[in-house]
Symmetry: none
Subunit: 230 residues, 2 copies
Amino acid sequence: MSAESGLRMLVVDDEPQIRKALGINLRARGYEVELAATGEEGLRLAAEQPVDLALVDLGLPGIDGIEVVRGLRGWSEMPIIVLSVRESERDKVEALDAGADDYVTKPFGMGELLARIRAVTRRAAGRDEALPVVMAGELVIDLADRTVTAAARPVSLTPIEWRLLEVLARHPGKLVTQRQLLQQVWGPAYERESNYLRVHFANIRRKLEPVPAQPRHVITEPGIGYRFQL
Amino acid sequence: MSAESGLRMLVVDDEPQIRKALGINLRARGYEVELAATGEEGLRLAAEQPVDLALVDLGLPGIDGIEVVRGLRGWSEMPIIVLSVRESERDKVEALDAGADDYVTKPFGMGELLARIRAVTRRAAGRDEALPVVMAGELVIDLADRTVTAAARPVSLTPIEWRLLEVLARHPGKLVTQRQLLQQVWGPAYERESNYLRVHFANIRRKLEPVPAQPRHVITEPGIGYRFQL
DNA sequence: CGGAGGCGTCAAGAAGCCGATAAGGCCGCT
DNA sequence: AGCGGCCTTATCGGCTTCTTGACGCCTCCG
């Protein structure tokens, strides 16, 4: 489970050595890190440029960490992990009910913190699972919804037709060999049945090419395979 | 933040007094609780009727708690909280990376556990509930109130009919496979019973499609699954 | 010039899937 | 005990889809 690079993280803690240690460890994992010593500064940094996750200490000078959590929750649903030396149940309940996703008591191991970061980001990330929509001329292929429209009209494809088109559309412009197509759709035992491809691609072209005899998007590469032309 | 009643919770722990204490406290908060003493029993209970949250002890006779977490994650994204006497960082990292959402070391305070339950369910609930009310033509589906009206008339659905429609309506326009539907409504043990879907969707269409023979919103994708068309 | 291989087209048969219907069992309610 | 709603299970007809074989066209190459 590798760290996802590019994620912006905000660390709010008044102890310099904690800030420094977190900054070093998180940056080493490929995260982008913003450091804040006070709650006010943390809220300001988060407002200026949104962050993907916040680590907030409870004992802060000025406004308390719990207020930072409430402030962030007021406008964002980013994952928030509270770090604190306070071990009382009352503090934990208050922080979690204020909107924190997790509560870690200091001192903590860096490995545990990183694992908890992975846990909360994993759940937050699963929200919008990368759904590519391939558009080519009058064709729109929505890989997430599993729909195809040609000239603004919905096209209904059979299971095999869809899977063939899906394999091509996942790599627009790239050449896909017959063997790859047969293996992906029918399985390894059908690698030589290239006649399957001819009849099914004929049906696909009939459904979504304006002139099936002169295909513009589903292109045959003789002797090799097929390609989806944008 | 009050406890949402009706949430089904699964408790997997081999210590009888822990099971009893959790059962009493959770039921007092309005949760519905299933108790299991072994990992096998826990997985079986979850498979028979899906649960909304799982509390899993690590030290179990038979298969280990970590395997229970992996087994649940294999087919469900339900929140999972691990309870354990083990305090080592290695155990925590392993459990969290296996898919657990939180890790609580025994002994723990009931208030803290309840707060952590609220935290993970809050995030899991907020995931799809962006659209509590789905409208499609003459149909209005209120996911929060669990009510359906067709042409301004209230429609009464059976429990299974509602859950099927709910799974579809949570992702309008998106194709949901038969396997996903069967898993979500009946559990992973019923992945092959696609005849269930035919019978129940026939009843659903009879109740809320103007012309059941030509459905406009509950669409069948032959060989694949079903789709809720807006 | 002629043959071979690859490709597109068509059609027929078989297999699979869906919708409809109804009977039987389980459970809760009266 | 009786009743009714709900889920499961089985069967049947109709339709779609996949497979399979045959045929003609094209290009490439000997």
